[in-house]
Symmetry: D2
Subunit: 264 residues, 4 copies
């Protein structure tokens, strides 16, 4: 019986960044939090304490800031593709780079009926997410939504609310990531609202089917939906009925429904 | 030297509630979390273990649900006024009722260009708050905003973002709480965006002055503003300048600026 | 009707610090998080944008680090007394300094039956706290405990657990803060365990009385106790009884009991 | 191109439980939080809204309480094995049951030098965890530790602290889960303290090797270690040196080191 090192990776998490693009009469901002993980030839660091092949995690962080200085950031997926290419190009010992990104979204303050050019408010808890995994052969790109909370009070066999996350896999990297993200989000919400639901499983399958039918370059979509309950309060001990008026929102216990819907 | 009981109060916190109002073709919802505290003649419970004057905290909770069954909830302040009146009317041993309320705001899903009648999404982290304190002689009403995050990238001597809370005191109880709340919020945001700021203290005073000048029935306004910093990343070690492009968002340490502005 | 600035203060929060004292064969560590607030002549900063009297919050932070470099930190209260004295001595425009401190406690790893000299583990969620408020005339010192969670399964009319905080006020500043803190903590726990409780109010008064009787230089003690419930699970629908075997721990709603016990 | 349902599962999360065992002169308590996930023949629920094969998540929750009523809970792993067996026995449509469990640990209050029989305090943030996955053919059992925070101030090339989680895989189910859990924990801490570390990778491999060498029925161990930094504060701008006295504890960004060490 031998003891040996198995799968291993390391990196830097919670790398935070605000990128400001200042044009005459209009500022644009983008706030990101990144986690970078590297796989590669790191066995000697573990077994012998030999750190020569270890790219310091502070260098990973500095690379993020340097690339953010050089490029304005439109879609977070494109920025991550740059980062992956950079790490693979300059570090032969690295075989795979994984990046998870979350965008904290900001909205312009609406003042006097129009958006203000340089004042912003946080656009809710909802985050746009991206998960990329790249080698020298190929890079897969997943996008997603985290923190989106929805509920409906009709067309449903249940009383509760759903809270993300959704993630989907693109068929390649040559994608208009920004506009598709907004399109998928709209399609998910529309199907959720309109679907005549027999169960959460039933609704999420319909949501997945709608996305896959309408977006050619999405190959699969994954749901992992906490299903938090609104329990109808029993008012009988107080001598009252309660025909759908008063509910107790609960966080625990909650259901959790997970599924992948994909194209063959 | 004698040992004696000083100020004391007790109650129920985190009482959660979803109220649904179902009309033909349109549902309305209101989600609240309440904390109720009672002051009164509770000395014997402490010193002798005599619980006869103690209103059980479960009864407080049930009272919330019973009143929510009987009344639809428009402004949270009016619902809290009902609760205070109820506790003072039926419990002579209670001298003061304090209620803190937070409303989790929901927005209708916008589908096909118009708001959907019975499907909703959480309207951000921002909460509408209310703090009432009532005796048999008078009741004071404070309203507020919690979780509102704002920043600006011009007209400012600093780079950072602010995160509530704001609270203000009404001159009485006969107030259109709902429309004033939205008006105050708009005025705070507008002044924040437009003010040529020398410091946070300077901006918050201007915000308070604007609210007090424009709303007759607001007597004072209080700010307690965490001031979180965006630190300009030093890219010189990487051989780059950074003229306001790349910032590090930080949560700690942060400034905290507190002030009350009031009418004499 | 005039609009004017009322009470105001500003400062730096979440200033974090690890102090290491390295002696031959033994290292000691102390981890603190501080919040400092200043009161004084800051009106012009608010009303005129004149910042000349504003001590920058970064200077407050640096003062913490400089004093921590110069003095080893025994009791957190003594370190805060130094800070207050420093700010009042060098800044005539400051009239009051308030400091809140929380100590994250570390314990030595117990290896081979004895404490290890330079390896540590976090000693639970429980924090030692201190709140000081100083002017040029006098400084009041409060100490406390935060994050202490206790429950008992006998000698109680209820099934639940308590979670701090406790705070107490010292009669002066010439106190052995460290040893008294441990003594008060022990007395609180002992009284909690032994007291034949008719209610939480009954128990907390007994705890306060025990502390005040046994510690001459404590003048008052304050409790603010969330009372979280263990609800007996109703197993009757499953055809089973449940004589005190299976409980559902809950976080919300919860009771909240607050009281001050003091010496006349 | 066909659209079809891929991997899917559903269940109940955050099922909380306190089990009290009352013996003459001594009470024992166990607090658990469980998440249960089922895999099986649930396709029709997704694609057709046919819920006949869906075991309601409330039934899962009730099963937890019923089994907890019938059996006292020693090791959490054994309780989860009972649950898995129950679900597989009574539900032919279920092919796999996954359970994740976390134990909130309580310690007896030490009063007058001995442990109190029926009063407890929370034993830190650290949790004992278990992850089981069972089919009709075999069940794998993993145990772990979550929330254990450690640091050392010597024998290290770095200044920082580590925060779990550790998980390990047992070679079978016939294991003294309780005593081994404590043994593994002790071995991990001892190796951490004693190891002359060239890097975190170096230390974690040594920790894994020690566990695998000393415990016959552990087949592999997995580490996922956030590495949070204590940054030496630069006091030079204040005219002071800082030879390892004053550090800034940070939460972000942080390193993350992951690896599996296993027996061949």
């Amino acid at each position: 019986m031998a003891i040996r090192l198995g799968e291993n990776n390391y990196g830097k998490s919670h790398v935070r960044l605000l990128r400001v693009t200042r044009q005459e009469g209009r500022h644009d901002i983008k706030e990101l939090t990144l986690a970078i993980q590297l796989e590669g030839g790191f066995e000697a660091a573990h077994t012998k304490g030999d750190n020569r092949k270890i790219l310091p995690t502070d260098t990973m962080k500095n690379t993020v800031y340097a690339l953010a200085r050089q490029h304005s950031i439109e879609a977070v997926e494109n920025f991550c593709l740059h980062l992956i290419e950079h790490f693979l190009t300059y570090n032969p010992q690295i075989s795979r780079v994984k990046i998870e990104a979350a965008e904290d979204r900001w909205a312009r303050l609406p003042l006097g009926g129009k958006p203000y050019p340089s004042a912003f408010t946080r656009a809710g808890e909802e985050k746009r997410t991206a998960m990329l995994s790249g080698t020298r052969k190929e890079t897969t790109v997943r996008a997603g939504i985290k923190g989106l909370v929805v509920m409906k009070t009709s067309k449903s066999a249940f009383e509760n609310f759903l809270k993300d996350p959704f993630t989907w896999l693109y068929a390649g990297n040559d994608v208009e990531f920004g506009s598709i993200w907004h399109g998928v989000r709209e399609m998910l919400l529309e199907t959720f609202a309109e679907h005549d639901s027999k169960s959460l499983q039933h609704t999420l399958y319909a949501m997945g089917e709608a996305v896959l039918k309408n977006f050619d370059n999405i190959r699969e979509i994954h749901f992992s939906l906490p299903n938090k309950h609104f329990n109808l309060v029993d008012l009988a001990p107080l001598g009252m009925d309660n025909p759908g008026y008063v509910y107790l929102p609960t966080d625990e216990p909650h259901g959790l429904i997970e599924a992948t819907v994909r194209k063959d």
